[in-house]
Assembly symmetry: C2
Homo-oligomer: 287 residues x 2
């Protein structure tokens, strides 16, 4: 019986981090140490864990990472004011607005206040629009990680049928545009899709980005398909599990990303890469 | 043998035009006659025909329509300068940049110079990004006309599978987002799609937006599907023909938009509606 090749993200992430660290060192030598500021307004523990992991990776790569820790009861106006202040601060090169946000605050609305040139996680609708239109912009790191991981493992995209499960502004939609730009035929499914498994099981490549542990099972995947698991759902024992039920999908998929160790590390590495690019004032196109 | 119901756009277009004319009259009475400026830099005859038809419809609705006719050898910088000047002109409420553009000039790039609030044909990447993110923005009129026509004829979208053929920034991509926002499952196909008919013939609704006369034939459409023809390809005798081969599709589709008389008149009417909204400084969401 065949079994899915694990599409590890660790080697790719390491290569991206090494390159980012090299360029960060050059910038530091030139008196321009890259600086990333993560704005949080939540006491959600998995958010705190994620922010700490970004900060740790940034520090190791020679990037300064500040956390602007607003209170979970912050108003949208207060968050917007912080984003505007950071956008105007010449010492800050990259800005991330971490979710979840307080009730009444919408990421896509507030992210408009992140200066386009510093929008290293592609949250500003202008970034999404430029990405969709094929113009230079930072892609949301998670969406870009999906494509980067497929490239790294030599998975052909042109002419292949990719089904993206999930239509979020930070993963599903930008991933669909990046895949379209690579000449894939793209289907976007979501919570209101009728007969999900009938649709996903026709795809050459399935990208699961819904945030529900184990949603994608054998019935959703055709034999020989490549499956990318974007999910990072917390488990009861403090670990992470994906959107894909690996036990049922592994025996029939050609390849599957592990969780953890697949999309996640590539995402973090790309945030560092974007921050260094922002500090270099490089125009950037999503790779 | 059954035959496809023709999904005429004429009645819907007339209703939109009447409403726009009513509101334009109120604005004029208040000393704020809506004004649309169409920027052209081409001597393409079908473009000239289209611009004349917009101007005629605008005038009938009580909207002033100016043509800023730049020469076909205009540089991108000259076109951008014109768009910036119009964007800053308080007397202009809506701006359209007509295609085709001179060689070296890209719509998605130049359209960034159209003020967001005056971007009545949703060409600025910020409009596309906000549309994709679910924020208020003017949708490209053609893309919105697709959804408006489906609504007008009572075609359910939620949970249905829609295949959009074509991935342009002005039709295919924004239509995909409008359809996703209405809870359709959306597949985007294009020139690099492998086995197009296998994919399109699974859809409940097919939207043809490629600009190739007669590309969509019976093999692309499943019996009972609804087919929206966005194509407006010039014929040798000076008429228009769609992307759908109506002779082969009519016997098996449940419904089909005619060309001319389907999407086209709704598109023109929506441009008038958007211009009146822009003059009213109404925040707008794509309907």
């Amino acid at each position: 019986m065949s079994t899915a090749t694990p599409l590890s993200g660790k080697e790719l992430a390491a290569a991206i981090r090494t390159s980012a660290a090299d360029r960060a060192a050059h910038l530091t030598a030139a008196g321009r140490t890259p600086k990333l500021t993560v704005v949080t307004a939540t006491d959600d523990p998995s958010s705190a864990w994620y922010v700490r992991s970004i900060a740790k990776a940034a520090t190791k790569a020679g990037i300064v990472c500040d956390i602007a820790d607003l209170r979970p009861d912050s108003t949208p106006d207060a968050i917007r004011a912080t984003l505007e202040k950071l956008s105007a601060d010449d010492g800050v090169h990259g800005i991330i607005l971490q979710t979840p946000l307080p009730a009444g605050a919408a990421l896509e609305d507030l992210a408009s206040a992140i200066a386009f040139a510093k929008d290293v996680d592609g949250a500003n609708p202008l970034s999404l629009g430029r990405l969709a239109a094929g113009l230079p912009a930072f892609a949301p790191a998670t969406a870009q990680a999906v494509v980067a991981l497929l490239d790294h493992h030599g998975v052909e995209l042109a002419g292949r049928h990719v089904t993206v499960i999930g239509r979020s502004n930070v993963v599903g939609k930008p991933a669909a545009h990046l895949l379209l730009a690579r000449n894939a035929t793209v289907t976007v499914c979501h919570s209101r899709t009728a007969d999900l498994s009938a649709i996903t099981s026709r795809a050459d490549i399935v990208v699961a980005a819904v945030g529900r542990a184990g949603l994608v099972t054998a019935e959703h995947v055709r034999p020989g398909a490549v499956v990318i698991d974007v999910g990072t759902n917390p488990t009861e024992d403090g670990g992470l599990t994906g959107d894909v039920d690996a036990a049922s999908v592994t025996p029939l998929a050609a390849a599957l990303t592990p969780v953890p160790g697949g999309v996640g590390p590539v995402t973090t590495a790309l945030l560092l890469d974007h921050t260094v690019r922002a500090a270099s004032e490089e125009a950037t196109t999503p790779s």
